[in-house]
Symmetry: C2
Subunit: 422 residues, 2 copies
């Protein structure tokens, strides 16, 4: 069985001028569930000529083409029209869709604008894809062995439509394909060193027992992800190869792996806390709520996350966390002493198992010769033991905040591990 | 003057399988500063055949090609090799780069792996672009009238290199081009209604006084952005057209615009607070620190953001904010009463001008028939006046958290406006 080629075209000038496009990353994950992967992604502006060329090339090259965006009611939404030209399929107005769109407007107490009627235009032969979260329906069109899928741009409309309508149909159409992704998360080791450790396995295992293996390695915010994907036909065969390779990788990476099949440190920590029925509270300064937000991104985090304090001012650090004012005058707000006092303070007042703290200078202002932008202190108060760490990061405000949050979460992870294996 | 066509190719399998690619959005903003825009973006996996085809097409079609990623030391970094094939330029090892890479490893107390030597390979005729934040240098190659730019993938390496080395050179090469972007941020009105309001202006102004105008409209998280870009030669002419159009848009959108040239509500609020020397403190439940993080994303936010409390548990709401336990039993933690008590509590204890609060059910668990997932209460306590709002959102956890944070910030904005014009 040969895997079908999937190509994704995202439409929207804003995606090339400030708005981040998350579709490729997120659809890639969903498609992996049914053994497919995206071969190429393109982002094009709301420009008919560029859209026409890109659509035509994608449809010529690939088996499944997904277009995302440009189905709205406004003047710059022309995806339907361009696909109609490229596929030479005329469009007709679907009466049921008109009624449905009108109903949606009424239910929100709004009047339907004439422009919204364009959203009821369907390519000849296409099935309309219901959109529970918006007015723009999608379209699903089989062209011989090829599949063309039109979806709206907003993620909250696109993803439910993709999961409910598109994914089951693609699964049925390509049912003999299987794939298994395995990831190892690594902290505290440079990428080139990890590369050296796994290189023999990567070179050795490209094809095993009729399956293809694609390897990857990726560094991000002080974490390294090693991954491989096994692709082939027959679920049992694919699973067996994946298990065998995972065993070999595990042996090689044993000393440095912090988690498997999970790329986010906050989720690794969350699983550990939930399993041990332990809790955490967070006191943050320079990261302004980022650590709390990362921890609470995970559904169910209310079982182990008690509270967060974003103490930007010194007086808030004193009032909320009991940090003694003398520490500020003696050591400064960004110091090991204050970090430790913050961790102890939030742990005590919240009665959490662990108190995690972070104080630093995220920039661009506020740095001095002794305490430059990028200086960060983190601390973790555990029962009977406080650990802390100091580091200086080079990068912009957002990167310093991101990276120091991940490092704080790793400090918490180490504290949990230490307590679990005394 | 005809604007040069810029094309961006991002390389990395991870970008098609879970890692969000922010380069197109961010580089688009930087390029706009010198009057350029990205005509197309492609994301391709670490696969030589796909890379070869995409690179060749981009170089044939466009005047400036930027490739991002695949310059690392590991087995899957093959961008240099593929560009060497496509441009038919052999590579040579640059002795100065070898010394520089070795020096960087030594300064970090690490040994240089032999694989890192590949990073010192330079295409014939290319200039090497220094990388202060990593070991992979970039490359800048003029091919007749075309410019080819190779940059590493990590944003903290790519952007400083782009700003310091690439941008000034592109500016000089295309010095007659100018462009001016104008944006209006709108809250509380549906996209199709805004579209109807501006449609006459959009249809009327496509070309004015030798300049081209590109219009756009975009909805995101309960906010709508209307924008246009004026492009042409001669800064004075471009500026004059932009000013004139801005005036007409301003007249039409007057009643619903919340800010100009700023797409983020937290920054609009930040500017207002800083100008009025007022302060804010935030108490969050379901958003878990997101509102605090958004506010503190802005440099200088320490001038008006005093503190945040992420009170996930009822006991934290009582201890930190003084919410009376009777309110939980009588109304529940997600209620107008608790939202108002949280806002009042954080305002009082922090002594901020405004206390902003948010409590809700972000899901996927925790919903009931009376209080479903997506129910959110927000409140803002200002001197002498508390306002609150209740809404039910449909979407996943992340979307509910995002959207309700923006709505809370809009409530704060309204409170500031009301106080400023009594």
């Amino acid at each position: 069985v040969k895997a079908p080629r999937v190509e994704l075209v995202c439409i929207g000038s804003e995606l090339l001028a400030g708005k981040v496009n998350t579709h490729a990353a997120a659809l890639g994950i969903k498609l992996a569930d049914i053994g497919l992967s995206i071969a190429r992604e393109h982002t094009v502006p709301d420009n008919r000529a560029v859209m026409r060329q890109t659509f035509a090339e994608a449809l010529r090259r690939s088996d499944v083409v997904i277009s995302a965006g440009g189905l709205g009611p406004t003047f710059d939404d022309v995806t339907r029209d361009v696909w109609s030209e490229v596929t030479r399929r005329p469009m007709t107005e679907d009466a049921a869709l008109v009624a449905d769109i009108r109903r949606k407007f009424i239910s929100r107490g709004l009047q339907m604008a004439p422009a919204n009627l364009r959203q009821a235009q369907v390519l000849r032969g296409a099935r309309s894809i219901p959109n529970p979260n918006g007015t723009a329906p999608g379209q699903y069109l089989l062209l011989g062995r090829k599949t063309l899928i039109l979806l709206p741009g907003p993620a909250r409309e696109l993803f439910p439509m993709f999961e409910t309508f598109v994914l089951p149909r693609l699964r049925t159409r390509h049912r003999n394909l299987h794939s298994r992704l395995k990831t190892f998360l690594i902290a505290g080791v440079p990428e080139s060193q990890v590369d050296q450790m796994i290189r023999p396995l990567v070179d050795k295992y490209r094809r095993v027992g009729g399956c293809t293996i694609v390897h990857g390695i990726l560094a991000s915010h002080s974490l390294i992800t090693v991954k491989f994907r096994v692709e082939g036909s027959g679920r049992a065969a694919v699973d067996a190869v994946a298990r065998r390779l995972a065993g070999e990788f595990r042996t090689v990476l044993k000393a440095i792996v912090v988690g498997e099949d999970e790329e986010r440190m906050e989720n690794i920590v969350g699983v550990m806390l939930a399993r041990r029925k332990e809790t955490v509270a967070v006191a943050e300064s320079c990261t302004g709520g980022l650590v709390s937000r990362m921890i609470t991104d995970r559904p169910g985090s209310s079982n182990y996350f008690l509270e967060g304090a974003v103490t930007y001012t010194n007086s808030a650090k004193t009032r909320r966390l009991g940090v003694r004012p003398a520490l500020f005058t003696r050591h400064g707000a960004v110091s090991e002493e204050v970090a430790r006092a913050m961790a102890t303070g939030i742990r005590r007042s919240s009665r959490a198992t662990y108190g995690l703290s972070i104080t630093g200078i995220a920039g661009p202002g506020g740095g001095t010769r002794e305490k430059p932008v990028g200086l960060v202190h983190i601390a973790c108060a555990a029962p009977g033991k406080i650990t802390s760490k100091r580091f200086t990061l080079k990068g912009d405000r957002s990167w310093i905040r991101q990276r120091s949050s991940v490092m704080a979460l790793d400090l918490l992870r180490q504290a949990i591990v230490r307590r679990a294996r005394p």
